[in-house]
Amino acid sequence: MSMSGNPFEPSAPRGPSDAAAPAEDAAVLDDAAVPDDAAVPENAAELEPAAVLDDAAAREDTALFGDAARADDAAILDHGEVSDDAALRDEPTSTGVPVLFGADIDHDPTDPVVPDGPARHPAPPGAWHTLLRALRPRGTRAQVLTAVLCGLLGFAVVAQVRLTHDTSLSTLRQSDLVEILDQATRQGDELQREAAALEQTRQELESGSNSRQAALDAATRSAATQGILTGRLPAEGPGIVVTLTEPDGSIRPLTLLNFLEELRNSGAEAVQLNDQRLTASSYFVAPADGGGVVVDGATLHAPYRWIVIGDADVMATALEIPGGALASVRNDGGRGSVLRKVLVSVTATRSVPTPVNATPVPPKG
């Protein structure tokens, strides 16, 4: 017997005289140990009543405790298993379930609410069956109740989702609002700084474009001036038209060159002789066969028609002075007439060769 070595067994050294009392004690103390009284067979007769008594008491104890313990265990086990009060039958082994519910459950044997039996630990296909059974529409109270609760949940979820999408500030807590305000302030400061920087950049760019525009204007003016001076551009303005004819002889190239020099001295800005534009590099030479004059490689013949832009009065006076340009023409046997005009057009142009050897001196500084 396992109880013979039990250190809590007080009846091990017991004698025949007081066997009953300790045995009873033992029964009370250790209900599981007592029913096996064969451990003391020599005193079996004397101990018989005690043993019976003990047995009864012990059995009763066991029954009571055992049931209670089992019930508790089951309850605890169930709680532990589901870890949850949700939809769990609180006292599975007790009869405390109200008759109302029990009746409802009993009416439907396929209802998953059956508290015990193999459904407690269903096999995998059983789980699916349970689910399918539960999904089958029936008018039971459980289903209707679940449907109502699910509907409530769906309604609440939609309401909450809509509320969240609205994200109105009034739903937020004070601390959240303070945080948002702080964040907004910080963001505003940052944006303000950024705006200031961008404004500065814009002003810089504007002034830069202004200066660039000024440079462009200057360059354009300079290009116009130089275009007129080099004969690259046609020009118009006040001036004179001089026509030289040769009724009594031929005007020498030198006379024509002096005539041009006289015009330049009197402020001519653009000069055209017949269809040749005259510039700083223009030259007059006598042709090999004697007739006319070669100007910049082209042979011209009388009458020579000068179109000159400049101060008309100054130029006309300068040409007419005694011993001047027109006097030389007359000496050569020619005749000349000067017409002052408010607007003359110098239409002839010449192309300006790109300098091959000369390059601009780089600007200092």
Partner: protein, 110 residues
């Protein structure tokens, strides 16, 4: 099936009626929704465990919602509302996960 139908009807009703949540309830509704979700998962698990009981489900559903809202309300009164609601959500989330794991084990045995 009726439960799914109820859920659909609830969602449709929410979309149709466009409910405006009272301002006083606004901080508690999300927590209540999470608590109700927890109750729903618990109910599904109990169903698969074969111990589903509509009375317990109803009580747990409502008490979950009320207790969760109450905790948040208390937190708001104590000045730790946001922290406490975070805690409630974490706890409910853990429970939902464990219930979902149990359901998964039931259905897929994995």
């Amino acid at each position: 099936m009726i439960a799914v139908l109820g859920l659909v009807i609830g969602v449709v009703a929410g979309l149709v009626f466009e409910p405006t949540v009272p301002v006083s309830l606004q901080p508690y509704l999300p927590i209540a929704v999470v608590a109700a979700l927890d109750a729903l998962f618990g109910g599904l698990r109990a169903l698969l465990d074969g111990i589903f009981d509509d009375r317990v489900f109803l009580v747990s559903f409502l008490s979950n919602v009320v207790v969760a809202a109450l905790i948040v309300f208390l937190g708001d009164q104590l000045g730790v509302g946001s922290q406490l609601s975070t805690g409630v959500v974490v706890v409910l989330g853990i429970r939902i996960f464990s219930n979902a794991a149990a359901i998964r084990r039931h259905l897929f045995k994995a």
